[in-house]
């Protein structure tokens, strides 16, 4: 047996037998760039797949993640930890270059291509999977008023609520994440 298979076999035999009590989770989504969209959607869909009831509250820059048509962007500006695999190394982009028109759009396209190439789900797919898995998706009413979005701009299957709606979600959830 290969050493990898032995490692897997060992760790499985250590697994406890009792099933843990199911917890619930709420996530506040406050950012809407391509990179920041991933953590909430991956956590929500995976938690739902593992049996947890999940709610997501989209506020401020997270609200546009509920728009019917998504065109998520990423920027290297002010993102010192953003280093992408290029030419066999990890490279960052100097802030000054991000001021050149078209550079951010190019970086966003490159990241989307990398995501596709590596078999990672798109945000659109993860969002659909979240709705299918009955993840409760709530749009922040105040943010909609503030940035002049209409419910008709958003995908179907979402609720609209305010801070008190979120607080109730949080009170009922074991795990509360602010992303």
């Amino acid at each position: 047996m290969s050493s990898e298979a032995e490692m897997v076999k060992e760790s499985i035999s250590e697994a406890p037998v009792a099933v843990p009590k199911t917890k619930s989770m709420s996530i506040i989504v406050t950012k809407g760039s391509l990179d920041w969209a991933y953590p909430p959607f991956i956590l929500a869909t995976t938690a739902a797949a593992m049996g947890l009831p999940v709610s997501m509250f989209f506020t401020f820059y997270g609200l546009p993640l509920l728009l019917k048509k998504l065109d998520l962007q990423v920027t290297a500006a002010g993102n010192p930890a953003m280093k992408m695999p290029m030419f066999g190394a990890h490279m960052g982009l100097p802030n000054i270059l991000t001021a050149i028109p078209g550079v951010d759009a190019a970086c966003s396209t490159m990241m989307k291509n990398l995501i596709k190439k590596k078999g990672v789900a798109s945000i659109e797919d993860l969002r659909e999977l979240a709705i299918e898995a009955d993840v409760r998706m709530i749009g922040c009413q105040m943010t909609m008023d503030l940035f002049e979005y209409d419910k008709s701009d958003m995908i179907d299957g979402i609720e609209v609520g305010g801070a008190a709606t979120y607080i109730e979600c949080a009170c009922q959830s074991d795990i509360n994440l602010f992303i």
Binding site: A5, V8, I12, M50
Partner: protein, 76 residues
């Protein structure tokens, strides 16, 4: 022979788990689902998934770069 096979090769986290959950719904109680994946993270993930959901990870193996899992639908 598993009741159903899910080919999750080339898919990255969290897709193998998400697709497995969906596929498992179509497997009758006591039946088995075979999952093939290339994502190395899926090794720990399927164990965690089974522990958390109460399904049984009957078998696992790796053949080159392909991981194979057999999950028995034992959860309520």
């Amino acid at each position: 022979m598993a009741d159903k096979t899910l080919d999750a090769k080339g898919l990255n986290c969290p897709l193998p788990i998400l697709k497995a959950r969906k596929a498992l719904k179509e497997v009758p109680a006591g039946g088995t689902l075979e999952i093939l994946a290339t994502d190395p993270g899926s090794v720990a993930d399927f164990q965690a998934f089974c522990r958390q959901t109460g399904n049984e990870l009957v078998e696992h193996s790796v053949d080159g770069s392909v991981y194979r899992f057999i999950v028995k639908h034992t959860a309520a």
